[in-house]
Every structure is written in structure tokens, then in C-alpha cells.
């Protein structure tokens, strides 16, 4: 098995064995979505107007909570040193990590999002935009997250710090994702917004691994 595959497999295995990370992220996602109606009151029409925003904000926050696990534990137990010394390039390493992270975070959220949206009674015609948006947007979250996670390695209180670094960067995802849904809900086309999301995920697919790899190089020592 190639180094890439080995790392993805291992991270998935760890996620599954370590008390189902994926499940927990999803549960947090659900919790955040559940908190809002409590905060802003139950009026269905108000909620359905905010549905898209709430779901996306919840997704951002849930993802944020999960970033620290990307490299932190490898850093703490010394695995990262060994991975850096291994023959595989750091960029590949980062990509493998991001893929594993997306599979245990983005994908499950993508799958549960429609259910939550329906609980916030989102308009029916908006669902395709919601799904497409999340499918294009969640990878960006994982990729940007890797940069933040790599940058804060060795810093104390990495948890909150990474949130601070990454959240602002992921704001565009939030905006386009919501815009796409709004457009669909109001009967306009959501293609432009989705295109932008796609562009964002392509760009981050190219750039983020470079940035993360650079950060990782300095993280050792």
C-alpha cells in the first residue's frame, strides 16, 4: 500500500476506534442547529428564512471543533517527526490527512444536513443547492483547516487559536453556500454561487497543501 493510502486508512481506523469521531462531529452539528431555534424563537417562517444560514454556520463551527485533531495528536506523540522524516512528500501527507478528515467530518455533515434543514423547514426547492453547496464547500473547510492546524502546532491553547485562524478564512464558503441556497429558495439560479464554491475548493486543493506543508516543516524542532 502506498504511503498515501496507508495514512488515510490509519486515520480512518483511528477515527473509528477512538469513539467514532465522525458521529461526535455530527452530533455537535445537530446540537448547534438545535440551539438556534431555542435562541431566536420557534416561528417557522422566521426559521425557514434563516435555515440556510444556521445550517452553514453550524457546519463551520462543527468543522472548527474538529481541526485540532488533524495534526495535534501526531505532534504530541512524536508520530509527526517520523512522518516528516518519511520518504513521502509533506504535501502528499497533508492531502492524505485532509481526505481522512473530510471523510470523517465533511461527508457525514453533508449527509445529515438535509434532515436538519427540514427540521428548520427549508423550502423544498433549495435542497439541491444545499447538497451541492456542502459537497463543494466542506472540502474547503478541511483544506483550510489543515493550514490552521499545522500553523498552531506547538502553540498552547491550539484549540481556540486554530478556530480563530480558520473561521475568518472560511467566511467566503459560508457566504457563497448561503447565497446558493437563498437563490434556489427564491427561484433564481444558484449556479454562479456554486461555481464560485467550486473555484474555491479547487484553489484550496492546490494552495492549502503547500501552505500546510510549509507550516509543518517549521512545526518540528
Amino acid at each position: 500500500m502506498s504511503g498515501f493510502g496507508a495514512i488515510v486508512m490509519r486515520d480512518l481506523r483511528l477515527a473509528v476506534r477512538q469513539g467514532a469521531d465522525a458521529a461526535m462531529v455530527v452530533m455537535f452539528f445537530v446540537l448547534v442547529v438545535a440551539l438556534f431555534p431555542l435562541g431566536v424563537g420557534p416561528e417557522p417562517n422566521l426559521l425557514s428564512r434563516m435555515a440556510s444560514g444556521i445550517v452553514w454556520v453550524a457546519a463551520l463551527l462543527a468543522a472548527t471543533l474538529s481541526y485540532d485533531r488533524m495534526f495535534q495528536s501526531d505532534h504530541d506523540d512524536g508520530s509527526l517527526d517520523l512522518l516528516i522524516l518519511s520518504p513521502m512528500s509533506l504535501e502528499m501527507l497533508v492531502l492524505a490527512k485532509c481526505l481522512a478528515h473530510w471523510l470523517t467530518t465533511g461527508l457525514p455533515m453533508l449527509l445529515i444536513a438535509p434532515l436538519l434543514a427540514s427540521m428548520l423547514n427549508l423550502e423544498g426547492e433549495a435542497y439541491p443547492a444545499l447538497l451541492a453547496g456542502m459537497a463543494l464547500g466542506t472540502p474547503v473547510l478541511s483544506l483550510l483547516g489543515s493550514v490552521g492546524a499545522a500553523l498552531v502546532l506547538g502553540a498552547r491553547r491550539a484549540g481556540v487559536l486554530v478556530a480563530l485562524l480558520v473561521l475568518p478564512l472560511t467566511v467566503p464558503v459560508l457566504i457563497f453556500g448561503v447565497a446558493a441556497i437563498e437563490a434556489a429558495a427564491t427561484g433564481q439560479t444558484s449556479r454562479p454561487h456554486l461555481m464560485l464554491l467550486g473555484a474555491a475548493s479547487l484553489a484550496s486543493l492546490v494552495l492549502c497543501p503547500l501552505a500546510s506543508a510549509a507550516a509543518l516543516r517549521h512545526a518540528a524542532s
Binding site: G19, M27, L31, L38
Partner: protein, 239 residues
């Protein structure tokens, strides 16, 4: 009561009573369902959808009841350190989660015709959703430790702390003006509801209770066996 806390003795008793409980559960469920589905009138206002009540209400009652059982078992475990109480609490959690899920599902199915929406964020519905998450959190916590002991203790403490939610659910409908209870209680308390509707409801409630006991016995038994297996495996692996 300590005599029953001994797993082996408990298993003997459990095995003895199990068939009867299971049988009566199945029977009452059949009878209740038959009444509920065929031998009870459709509601003059709700029509056939009222039949959801026969599943929803017992399930809803059970999700509160189960958590109470869990809390009591946990307290017993923490205070008297009965391993059996611990097994029982852990065995009850998934069942309670199941009942809660059913209450939520049937509730929202019922909500569609009644309130014109699958879900409203009123106090009761939300607090039940939270109860559901508490169940899941409990299950997650218990399984998140290397030391089974730690998982048990942590789970027990959480069960006790989380118990505050039960009265909140129970009285949410009185504390906050919600969409939920008015629709329900008026329907139940009003003389309009005649035995033809109340009897099946009560039979179903009984059936759910028996069903709970049945599954609980099963899970406790397998829980005890699991511990034995884990012990054996650890020994042959690590010697």
C-alpha cells in the same frame, strides 16, 4: 436486595422469568395494536391520524421512564457499587434512546397533520430532542474509555446530572406556553375521550413497559457475558 445484585444469582432468576415477560409483552402488544388500529373509533376531528397517539404517547412516556430507571440504577451503582446496577444502566441507555427516537418520529409524523409542520421548536419538543442527545452522549461517554471501570463511573455521574432534564420535559408544557400540550391534554382530559380510546392507550402503555423489561433483561444478560468475554480475551492476549 443485595442478594439479587449477584450476577450469577440474578441470571438464574432472570432466565426463569424471561419467557413469561417476553410472552406477555408480545401478547399485550398484539392486543393493544389490534384495539388501536381496528377496534377504536377514528377521532371526529383528527380522523385516522389519531391512531398515532397509541404509539406516540406510550413511547414518550417510556423515554422519560427509561431515563429515570437509568438514573436510579446509576445512583445504586455509585453508592452501593453493585456491578449489576452499572450493567443495567448501560443496558437501558440504548433502549431509552430508541423510545425517544420513536417519540420524536411519531410526534413529528403527527405534527404534520395537526400543526401543519413536521417540527416546531417549542419547549417540549426541544427538551425531548435534548433528552435524545443526552442518551447518545451517555452512550458515547461510556464507550470512550480504556478502563471499562472509568466508563461506568463517568456514565453513572452523567446520568445523574442529566436527570434534571426529565422534570424540565415533564413540566415544560406548563412552564412555557407550547404548541404541544394544549393539543394533547385537552384531548385526553376532555370527557370527549371515551374508554374506547383510553383502554387501547393504556394497553399499549403496558405493552411498551413489558417490552422494555424484556429487552432490558436480554441486554443485561449479554452485558454480563460480554464482560466475561472481555476478561477472557484480555487474558489470552496479554497473559
Amino acid at each position: 436486595m443485595h442478594r439479587f445484585a449477584n450476577p450469577t444469582r440474578f441470571l438464574r432468576i432472570a432466565n426463569a422469568v424471561f419467557p413469561w415477560v417476553a410472552a406477555s409483552a408480545a401478547l399485550s402488544l398484539l392486543v393493544g395494536l389490534w384495539f388501536a388500529l381496528f377496534d377504536s373509533p377514528a377521532d371526529y376531528q383528527q380522523g385516522e391520524t389519531v391512531r398515532i397517539m397509541y404509539v406516540h404517547v406510550p413511547a414518550a412516556w417510556m423515554c422519560l421512564f427509561t431515563y429515570t430507571v437509568m438514573a436510579v440504577a446509576s445512583a445504586t451503582y455509585l453508592i452501593w457499587k453493585h456491578p449489576l446496577a452499572d450493567v443495567a444502566a448501560q443496558a437501558a441507555a440504548p433502549i431509552g434512546a430508541g423510545f425517544t427516537a420513536v417519540a420524536l418520529a411519531t410526534g413529528s409524523l403527527w405534527g404534520q397533520p395537526m400543526w401543519g409542520t413536521w417540527w416546531v421548536w417549542d419547549a417540549r419538543l426541544t427538551s425531548v430532542l435534548i433528552l435524545f442527545l443526552l442518551y447518545l452522549g451517555h452512550i458515547a461517554l461510556v464507550n470512550a474509555f480504556d478502563e471499562p471501570e472509568r466508563g461506568s463511573k463517568a456514565g453513572a455521574i452523567l446520568a445523574l446530572v442529566g436527570f434534571v432534564n426529565v422534570p424540565i420535559i415533564k413540566f415544560s408544557v406548563d412552564w412555557w406556553n407550547t404548541l404541544h400540550q394544549p393539543a394533547s391534554v385537552s384531548r385526553l382530559d376532555a370527557p370527549a375521550i371515551d374508554p374506547s380510546m383510553l383502554t387501547p392507550l393504556l394497553i399499549m402503555a403496558l405493552a411498551f413497559k413489558l417490552f422494555f423489561v424484556t429487552v432490558l433483561l436480554l441486554r443485561i444478560r449479554s452485558g454480563l457475558v460480554q464482560r466475561r468475554i472481555r476478561a477472557i480475551r484480555m487474558i489470552e492476549q496479554a497473559g
